[in-house]
């Protein structure tokens, strides 16, 4: 068995550690490129959402590299993600690929298939100390890669040399791929944190513009797909925070492991959107309200074109934007999105935010002058 799995930001780092330690041979998915997208677009249904096309391209590139088993997650809806696996399986079958599709689905579609898929993905036995230890390490690594990205978003606008920041973080992620034990991981973690702490910071005269990112879990995170909006913003001197994370995505499926931020966001979404509408619809609304209350200057909403939950969220975000006087930039991403157009829109958006900030400062100064 040679297994493979789809990309999602640095998920391949964690899974690339997990499976070999469990004794499963893997074919790491080749990096996401324009070619991956082209393959997916050619073979997937025309109106399917973008992540389906990209992950299909992923799978095919991995199969060409020798993979014969595909690991994929299912779902219970109403978002289309839960049905990706079924459609992709049909497409691969029709293409004549002889691969085994291991779909881990919700136990409500049968406890036995669920356990079987889990067993295959865990390399034979689920409940063993070794599996637990290895899984814990992979989880820590996934968490750490996300922490690194959070740091990158926050620091890009503050450091003196952006290349240095990229070098530290990309280097750390490359080193993480070769980690074999918890001790290795701790060393990488400590050294990276030290390196990040000594990065020289730029002196910033005015207050930083803060922008939050909300949206669909794949497109809002995967920088290869969303034209690295975070980097564009960071290069323009904007402090970026992303409300979307894979760790959160996994944790929120169980009631007890939901983070405080998530629950807070859901609570804040309630006046606007009263129930879960699939995917990250309610998270997008809630996180936007949360950013508004935390004093962020703007929000970028990233989603695949035709994404159902996010379109509901988009309709509702118009109201949030008005109520909190918060500019929101909606960016629908698909194979037809062009980089130049996107960059122009982001730049114009940052211009708006800068002007608003200046205008507000002037009016504040004006107020104090009058009152004194």
């Amino acid at each position: 068995m040679k297994a493979t799995f789809p990309h999602l930001l640095h998920l391949d780092v964690a899974l690339g550690i997990l499976y070999p330690l469990l004794g499963i041979e893997i074919v790491p998915p080749p990096p996401l490129t324009q070619k991956t997208i082209e393959i997916g677009v050619k073979l997937a249904p025309q109106n399917a959402c973008f992540p389906l096309k990209v992950t299909l391209g992923n799978f095919i590139e991995s199969i060409e590299k020798g993979a014969d088993t595909l690991f994929m997650a299912g779902g219970v809806g109403p978002c289309r993600f839960g049905y990706y696996g079924q459609i992709q399986r049909l497409i691969l079958e029709d293409l004549g690929y002889k691969v085994q599709f291991v779909l881990i689905d919700h136990p409500r579609y049968g406890v036995k298939p669920f356990l079987e898929a889990l067993r295959t993905m865990a390399g034979g036995r689920i409940a063993s100390l070794r599996v637990a230890r290895v899984a814990a390490l992979a989880w820590k690594i996934l968490r750490f890669t996300e922490d690194l990205e959070t740091q990158r978003r926050a620091l890009r606008c503050q450091v003196e040399k952006k290349e240095l920041l990229d070098r530290v973080i990309d280097g750390a992620i490359e080193r993480l791929r070769r980690v074999e034990s918890v001790d290795d991981f701790q060393i990488v973690k400590r050294e990276t944190e030290e390196a990040l702490a000594c990065l020289p910071l730029r002196r910033v005269n005015s207050e930083l513009i803060k922008v939050g990112i909300v949206g669909e879990v794949y497109v809002a995170q995967e920088t290869q797909i969303n034209f690295n909006v975070e980097k564009i913003l960071g290069d323009l001197g904007v402090y970026v925070h992303n409300s979307v994370s894979t760790v959160e995505y996994v944790l929120h499926t169980l009631p007890l492991t939901r983070s405080r931020e998530k629950l807070e966001a859901w609570e804040m979404a309630r006046p606007y959107l009263r129930r879960f509408v699939g995917g990250e619809g309610i998270d997008s609304v809630g996180s936007t309200v949360r950013y508004a209350r935390k004093g962020f200057d703007g929000v970028v909403h990233l989603y695949p074109f035709t994404c159902m939950p996010e379109i509901v969220a988009k309709g509702i975000l118009n109201k949030v934007s008005k109520d909190y006087d918060l500019p929101i930039l909606h960016l629908a991403i698909d194979e037809h999105s062009g980089e130049a157009g996107l960059v122009t829109r982001v730049e114009a958006f940052v211009d708006v935010l800068e002007r608003r900030k200046k205008a507000r400062k002037i009016s504040e100064v004006g107020d104090t002058w009058i009152s004194s």
Binding site: Y83, R275, G279, G281, I311, V312, G315
Partner: protein
């Protein structure tokens, strides 16, 4: 004067109109339905809706605008699920929130009780209607009695549809035209196949070309569900599942009168983008296939283009009929 409750003529209206109307009337309310879709309704929906949302939702929002100021209450129940273990599309789940936030309707005027049979089954159904009915009626017994009568009327309506009525024929008392000899299976959400303004009279057009029409609402539900089980994991969207079930039913039972499939989808439809692919691939895998046409409609669809495609499709069906070919490519999509 009786309290006036408005039902926008769109989306699930075509499925539950009789149920909702009877339920509300049994509670002593006056039901106002927005006029049949027309140019103004569509334009308003396009102007005040969300840009990227699918066409039927835009039309629905146009209908809301058409009646919202003429009624005391707006009836937009949140139909989360009306089949155990399944959902409706996210846009239908979030519909009341969209209506409230887009048009600034006061929450107390918008009746949006949640009907959710996904986990609770029939209890979720009752609970939802109790919540809806409590807006106007305090006695639970009276609400349940109204619901019981409404359900009876609903079953009658569904039975009438099985006889070959289209929702429109039934609601506006237009007699259906039945051509028995040659038929096409018209798949698609009822709010597309049932609204002859937004589908540009496709049923009449098909009839004029000499073909009768069967929709998935005219097929026995039990059979639809039985054939749906052929799929390894059916989707979680009720109406899309019915579409798949009906398609597989005719694919496997091979009714000689059914000469082709037309799948009517709105451009932005999420569920149908995947389910359509599923149907297409199942058709292609059959040895003796059947012509399949996917027609996408949205606000930009032109009538001339639709007619051309239909005519070409009919030509193909006839040609196939005359040549008894079975090894032709199964489908072409638009």
């Amino acid at each position: 004067m009786a309290i006036r409750v408005g039902i926008p003529r769109g989306l699930l209206f075509y499925r539950f109109y009789v149920l909702w109307k009877t339920f509300l009337e049994e509670l002593g309310l006056e039901v106002v339905v927005s006029p049949p879709t027309n140019k103004l309704v569509v334009q308003r929906g396009l102007t005040y809706g969300v840009e990227e949302i699918c066409f039927p939702v835009k039309v629905f929002l146009g209908h809301v605008l058409a009646i919202k100021d003429r009624v005391d209450f707006l009836f937009v129940p949140r139909m989360v699920s009306f089949y155990r273990g399944e959902y409706n599309c996210p846009k239908i789940l979030g519909l009341p929130d969209l209506v409230r936030n887009l048009f600034g309707i006061q929450p107390e005027r918008l009746v949006d009780g949640e009907i959710n049979m996904r986990d609770a089954g029939i209890r979720g159904w009752r609970k939802g209607f109790l919540e809806l009915g409590k807006t106007w009626e305090r006695s639970e017994r009276k609400i349940l009695r109204a619901l019981e009568r409404a359900e009876k009327a609903h079953l009658f309506y569904r039975r009438e549809l099985k006889k070959g009525f289209l929702p429109e024929n039934f609601i506006d008392q237009k007699p259906p035209s039945l051509l028995e000899e040659k038929k096409v299976l018209l798949l698609g959400h009822t709010y597309l196949t049932g609204d002859s303004y937004i589908n540009m009279g496709i049923v009449q057009k098909i009839n004029a070309l000499g073909y009768g029409v069967i929709t998935q609402d005219m097929v026995d539900e039990g059979k639809v569900r039985k054939y749906l089980r052929l799929v390894q994991k059916p989707s979680f969207w009720t109406i899309s599942n019915e579409i798949v079930g009906a398609a597989l039913l005719y694919l496997k039972e091979k009714d000689p009168a059914v000469k082709g499939y037309i799948h009517l989808v709105s451009f932005e439809c999420g569920p149908d983008s995947l389910v359509g692919e599923l149907i297409e691939r199942w058709i292609k895998r059959e040895e003796k296939t059947i012509p399949y046409l996917r027609l996408e409609i949205d606000e930009h669809t032109g009538e001339a283009g639709l007619v051309t495609r239909l005519e070409a499709f009919v030509d193909m069906m006839e040609w196939r009929q005359n040549h008894h070919e079975s090894n032709l490519s199964a489908s072409f999509t638009s």
